[in-house]
């Protein structure tokens, strides 16, 4: 992290974040105005979000023009792609959880994550995936009785039917 003294140009890529925030604030301000704003004597449901949106928007613009350099920002690199993979795995877990139950979702997720993202040995992968899944199924599904979506594995073990 360098603490440069020279000022970065106004069109420097890192300023995108300030613009995104300003855009977000403008959007929420417009949406707030579509709600009953009321008057200052009788504030409506839209008054408060409108005030906050305007405040956030102004702050974002001040940041846009006053931030001197990119020292706060971490550049995106090739390694950043692994974050997308991580996100997709998490999203995949939710989809599997809803459709094939917690046990299988947990097993598949753990194997893929431990092997391909954490780069663990197969022994650790299998041990970890089975171990974590058993512990979480016992704690959450069996002991705490969290009403998870239909789980064929738990169903098979507890009732003998899928």
């Amino acid at each position: 992290m360098s603490t440069e003294t020279s000022r970065a140009p106004l069109l420097a890529p890192f300023r995108i974040s300030s613009l995104v925030v300003a855009g977000f604030a403008a959007t929420t301000a417009v949406l707030s105005m579509q709600l009953p704003v009321g008057t200052i004597q009788q504030p409506g449901a839209g008054m408060w979000p409108l005030i906050v949106s305007v405040g956030v928007g102004i702050a974002a613009l001040v940041l846009l023009f006053t931030e001197r350099d990119a020292s706060d920002y971490e550049p995106l690199t090739k390694r950043s792609l692994v974050v997308i993979v991580g996100f997709l795995l998490m999203a995949g877990f939710i989809v599997m959880f809803a459709n094939i139950g917690f046990t299988l979702a947990s097993l598949i997720f753990s194997v893929v994550w431990l092997r391909f993202l954490a780069k663990e040995r197969w022994g650790v992968v299998i041990g970890g995936a089975v171990g974590f899944t058993v512990v979480f199924v016992v704690v959450f599904v069996i002991v705490l009785k969290v009403p998870v979506p239909h789980d064929p594995v738990v169903s098979l073990i507890t009732t003998g039917r899928l």
Partner: protein, 539 residues
């Protein structure tokens, strides 16, 4: 308020089940304080769903245990590994690690545990005398005062937080906007729901915090290779010598008092207290040149102060309903789950919770003292746990945890979205902490502002015409002015932080000696990146 209530707190804390919860909290806290990639905020977020099935006092004493236990875990890594796991342990690096290099890691950790115990106990005694005053005062506050108090809390956290104040304010503003999603409690109008029935009940606090702090950290850590840690120096005998105790007596006494008062301020807590204590100790020392070279005073004072501060910071949370940092915001969330709204009525309506939590902190600190001394060697090995394995556990726990709160798949998606938001915020130098705090304070702030305007017929003068509200407004103004002046930190200090940060990310090898900043009196906040690799966002 009488002595009976306070003693009743000990009766609550000493119940076998609660003792078990305190023990679990302290143990989990120490573990996560040491583990890479976890801190108290994500851990408490992970534990929130579990508190549904726990008794109120048990849930809160366990979460409180995680809070101060994690500080001590952070101390272990500061001393032995030169990795300040928590922001509150940053100053412990200066002298604690130097002591470790001289083979005196044991006494550094020992005096930290002793100081923490004394600091926490002094703070509880202080709260015994102060809480009736604050509770009486709080009952007299109206909407304008609460509006300014909540606003002041957000400003304090933004100004003293880990990222740039302007960025913190933006994040807090976004948190206030997120808090408005759902049905407006005053007019019944649905806001920003886009026709979704799921959004009518608002965006779930637990889903947001678990996303920001749990999944956000996992995604962020995926991108960063975490250097394997090396233990520096021998731990040696853990018990401090008589000379150590003599040298530490003054710093512990001063740290207790200083930490207690700084913890009461919104935005206060462990970090500010420990930094201020270090500055004070260096100033009053007979030989300040020893600071940064292994002076035990530089460990004893800040470690005492951060525990006293984290204990006393429970008072604004429990008696005013104003959490002064993100960890307390999460505990606020836990109290709401239990059907208890922290605020002026809590001390009188639920004395068992108020005093039970405080008494549990004395008990918990005693446990820390007993646990930490013999188990330091065990804990320090935890730092070798690989982050990829931890990440798998965190994802599974957060997913099933957030689902269990509302039995809602939608909450899982909300959490994932906020996980991405948390990752992007870290990449762009925004601290997610103020968002969680604003989400908690948002409904109180909005309703107070709107009620104030209704009371005054639309005059914003109501916020400065009432004496107490005026004091809060002046406090906010003074804070902004102070911050603008003191933001110009010395180049020496900035270099120091950059150096520590670079080492935490494995960018450079540690030097045998890093110079502590000359003057920490204006260094009320470490840089935004200081604790990012740990995911800890507590103030």
């Amino acid at each position: 308020m009488d002595l009976g209530d306070a003693l009743g707190g000990f009766a609550v804390a000493l119940q076998p089940l609660n003792l078990l919860f305190v023990f679990l909290g302290v143990l989990i806290g120490m573990v996560v304080g040491v583990l890479p990639g976890l801190g108290p905020a994500p851990t408490i977020a992970l534990m929130l769903p579990l508190t549904y099935v726990m008794p109120t006092e048990g849930a809160i004493v366990m979460l409180a245990g995680i809070y101060y236990g994690a500080y001590y875990g952070g101390t272990i890594t500061s001393v032995l590994l030169r990795l300040p796991g928590e922001a509150a342990s940053v100053v412990t690096v200066y002298d604690g690690h130097q002591m470790a290099l001289k083979g005196r890691a044991g006494p550094a950790l020992g005096i930290s545990a002793i100081g923490s115990f004394i600091g926490g106990t002094v703070a509880v005694i202080g709260l015994f005398f102060l809480s009736p005053v604050i509770a009486d005062f709080a009952i007299k506050l109206g909407p304008p005062e609460f509006a300014m108090l909540a606003l002041g809390g957000l400003f304090m956290v933004s100004m003293l937080g880990q990222a740039k104040p302007l960025k913190n304010l933006i994040v807090a503003g976004i948190g206030l906007l997120v808090a408005t999603v759902g049905i407006d409690s005053i007019t019944g109008v649905s806001r920003f729901t886009f026709g979704s029935t799921e959004l009518l009940r608002g965006i779930d606090f637990i889903a947001v915090t678990m996303g920001l702090f749990g999944l956000g950290d996992v995604l962020y850590d995926l991108e960063h290779s975490v250097r394997s840690a090396r233990v520096s120096g021998k731990i040696g005998r853990v018990l401090p010598t008589k000379q150590d105790l003599r040298d530490s007596a003054g710093p512990i006494a001063r740290g207790s008092v200083l930490g207690f008062f700084l913890g009461l301020l919104p935005g206060g807590g462990g970090v500010v207290s420990s930094l201020a204590s270090y500055a004070v100790e260096k100033r009053v020392a007979k030989d300040p040149s020893q600071f940064g070279k292994g002076a035990i005073q530089g460990v004893a004072g800040p470690e005492t102060a951060n525990n006293a501060g984290s204990t006393s910071s429970f008072l604004p949370l429990l008696s005013l309903g104003i959490p002064s940092n993100v960890v307390l915001a999460l505990i606020y969330g836990a109290l709401l789950i239990q059907g208890i709204t922290p605020g002026p009525g809590l001390v009188t309506e639920h004395p068992e919770v108020f005093w039970g939590v405080l008494a549990s902190m004395v008990v918990g600190n005693a446990m820390l003292l007993v646990l930490s001394l013999p188990l330091v060697r065990v804990f320090v090995n935890l730092v070798r746990v690989r982050i990829g394995i931890l990440a798998t556990i965190i994802v599974l726990v957060t997913m099933i945890g957030v689902y269990s709160v509302g039995n809602s798949i939608a909450d899982m998606w909300t959490m994932l979205i906020f996980g991405v938001v948390g990752y992007v915020m870290r990449k762009t130098g925004f601290d997610p902490g103020p968002l969680a705090l604003a989400l908690v304070l948002g409904p109180l702030l909005e309703s107070s502002v709107r009620q104030s305007l209704l009371m005054s017929g639309g005059s914003i003068g109501i916020f400065v015409e009432r004496p107490v509200a005026l004091v809060f407004v002046l406090g906010i103004v003074a804070l902004i002015v102070f911050q603008v002046i003191s933001r110009r930190r010395s180049a020496v200090e900035r270099r120091f932080y950059d150096d520590v940060h670079a080492q935490m990310h494995g960018e450079i090898e540690p030097d045998p000696v890093i110079d502590a900043p000359e003057d920490l009196s204006d260094a009320v906040s470490p840089p935004s990146t200081m604790t990012q690799s740990r995911g800890e966002k507590e103030q």
